[in-house]
């Protein structure tokens, strides 16, 4: 291991920032599903995974080792010796999560309507039907 670390110093760097790697892996997974799946529901799942990676990114950004929630002491002043972490990223991402939920629900609603109108949620079949309508 020490040999590996001296030969490839970035390995330690990678391991230390594992949270960001999780974000990247999730992001790419979501992206890949978006690209490769033709099923509209699966596409939405992919989109959700993709968005979730961003949520994680924000949350992991706000985390400080040993940090705690920014709750003031009983007299309204910071408690000495306590490490506070910034609450703003979490607040922001709450908003983003709400947005994500809204997006998913609109997407699912559309998928339902598409199923009613086309009888399928497979994109290639929808395309075939559209191509038929065009010709």
């Amino acid at each position: 291991m020490s040999w590996a670390q001296s030969a490839f110093p970035w390995i330690g760097h990678v391991v230390a920032n594992y949270n960001y790697w999780i974000v990247i892996v999730l992001m790419m997974t979501g992206f890949y599903v978006l690209i490769s799946r033709g099923n509209l529901i699966k596409k939405l799942v992919g989109l959700n995974v993709f968005q979730t990676s961003v949520f994680l990114m924000y949350i992991t950004m706000g985390k400080i080792t040993g940090g705690t929630a920014p709750i003031l002491g009983s007299h309204g002043e910071p408690v000495p010796g306590v490490l506070y972490s910034n609450p703003l990223p979490h607040v922001l991402i709450l908003t983003a999560i709400v947005v994500g939920v809204a997006t998913t629900s609109v997407g699912l609603a559309l998928a339902v309507r598409i199923k009613e109108a086309y009888g399928t949620v497979e994109e290639d079949e929808i395309n075939a039907l559209d191509a038929e309508a065009d010709s």
Partner: protein, 491 residues
């Protein structure tokens, strides 16, 4: 009261939207939407005159001081965007009353106007806010309502188009959120002015460059820059006529504004062009967009789709203006934002009139309409000429500045490209004119001129096309001011 105008601008439509759902009655919902649009337009006019007279406005939402609170900050650039959006929205809402009754089920009309107001509110919010995360929130408000609006189209393909737009729009918005997050991680602030202050210190940080990349691609997606425009043609084609007119004239414009805000105000022109070489990215894409999309437009048979592709080409002109990285270039781009909104609004509304009467916007279905619907087709012709860039229309003014900007940089081949593509624009506009005026109307159909309820708003925009084509001093003045602000040459 007046000091609250910047936020009222956004809040009024936002509050009226749920009211639409509550009243349920189509006409009442329309009245609310009209009220919201008119309020927004009135406020925008007031704001723009204030901003031009006495400099940028700043408003702290909930009295939380920036950079912690959300600040609404309005200078000449976004005041101008507010005017564009609310002007078009007002014209479209009056057009929509008759058009939507024809194209949307009665039970959904109230919901339509609710979504319309939400979309308007979102677009105005993007323009008004001075907080980058707020931009994302409003972007999603406008986008989600836009998906719903598009899905209300009569053809079932509208659903598929809306779904694809949803996927693409969400990816774009998420990219923007990633960019914002990376910026926040590096600088610890979300306020635009604050970011602009702090970013020069961290130019060399790789995170910032990555943030820039995500923001760029996200904006490109939302503004439908070639080759990320694939969602746009179907969305515009199958959406209800009023929605197409509204979206074409506002949504992409606001996205361009976002691009300008991020890359000029926040990152700064120096970073964008000297460090990131943004011009080297934008220019080829813009030229490719103008050429290939004009060519595609020439080959279309559905006129709505034809104009949709033309929109992508026209966005290319704006991006081309930006890529010149000069005050003149930005003037051209900002000017074209307004002018293109006027022409595409007018054109899509004229098409809405056609759809209202004959139920189709296929080029063959429009044969001989010049005689049957003279006022509608005359509006289309004037709008089309403006699109081509004929003198005395706004299109000419935009192209004039674009060419001046190209020559100023000594890139005359680009000036030539602008001129050549004008001829291509003539070719696709001509195809419609040829069908309408030089082909025989299939005689068995009873077709009359569109009702005044549709024609008046359409012609209002057409007249503006000509008015601002002749008296361009006002629009050019604002655009120049905005360009100077963006280039950092003026406060």
């Amino acid at each position: 009261m007046t000091q609250h105008l910047p936020v009222l601008q956004v809040v009024i439509p936002l509050v009226l939207a749920p009211l639409c759902v509550l009243v349920r009655h189509p006409r009442a919902a329309w009245a609310l939407a009209a009220l919201g649009s008119l309020c927004a337009f009135g406020i925008a006019l007031d704001i723009v005159s204030t901003v031009l007279a006495s400099g940028p406005l700043s408003y702290d939402v909930g009295d939380w001081a920036p950079p912690w609170g959300i600040e609404y900050r309005i200078d000449a650039v976004n005041a101008w965007i507010l005017v564009i959006v609310s002007l078009v929205s007002t014209a479209v809402v009056f057009f929509a009353r008759a058009s939507v009754e024809r194209e949307v089920e009665a039970s959904r009309v109230a919901l339509f106007y609710a979504a319309y107001l939400l979309c308007l509110s979102g677009l105005l919010g993007i323009a008004a806010t001075g907080d980058v995360f707020n931009v994302f929130v409003f972007l999603e408000i406008s986008s989600l309502s836009a998906y719903a609006l598009i899905a209300l189209g009569q053809d079932r393909r509208a659903l598929a188009a809306a779904f694809r737009y949803l996927i693409m729009g969400s990816v774009g918005a998420t990219f923007i959120v990633i960019g914002i997050g990376l910026m926040y991680a590096t600088t610890g602030t979300l306020n635009m002015a604050d970011l602009a202050d702090r970013l020069p210190g961290v130019w060399h940080v790789r995170t910032i460059k990555v943030a820039y990349g995500f923001l760029a691609v996200g904006c490109f997606l939302k503004l439908a820059l070639f080759p990320l425009h694939l969602w746009l043609p179907n969305a515009y084609t199958f959406a209800p006529s009023a929605v197409t007119a509204f979206m074409a004239a506002t949504a992409t414009k606001v996205a361009v504004y976002m691009l300008l805000r991020f890359f000029f105000t926040i990152f700064g022109a120096a970073f964008s062009f000297d460090v990131m070489n943004l011009d080297m990215v934008l220019m080829p894409l813009a030229v490719a967009a103008i050429f290939s999309m004009s060519f595609v437009a020439i080959l279309q048979t559905n006129v709505k789709r034809l104009l949709a592709y033309s929109s992508v080409a026209q966005i290319g002109y704006m991006i081309l203006g930006i890529s010149f990285a000069s005050v003149t270039g930005l003037t051209a781009a900002v000017l074209h934002l307004f002018n293109h909104a006027l022409m595409k609004g007018a054109l899509f509304m004229a098409l809405g009139c056609v759809a209202y009467r004959i139920g189709s916007v296929h080029i063959d279905a429009m044969a001989g309409l010049g005689k049957r619907m003279p006022a509608t087709m005359a509006a289309f012709v004037v709008g089309g000429l403006s699109l081509v860039g004929v003198p005395l229309t706004v299109g000419f003014v935009s192209k004039w500045y674009l060419i001046l900007a190209a020559l100023e940089r000594g890139w005359w081949p680009l000036a030539v490209i602008v001129l050549i593509t004008s001829v291509m624009a003539l070719a696709y506009v001509w195809r419609v004119i040829e069908a309408a005026y030089f082909r025989e109307f299939p005689g068995d159909r009873e077709t009359r001129e569109a009702p005044a309820a549709l024609l008046v708003p359409t012609w209002a925009l057409v007249v503006l096309n000509v008015y601002f084509g002749i008296d361009a001093t006002r629009t050019v003045g604002v655009a120049e001011r905005a360009a100077e602000i963006l280039m950092g040459a003026a406060p």
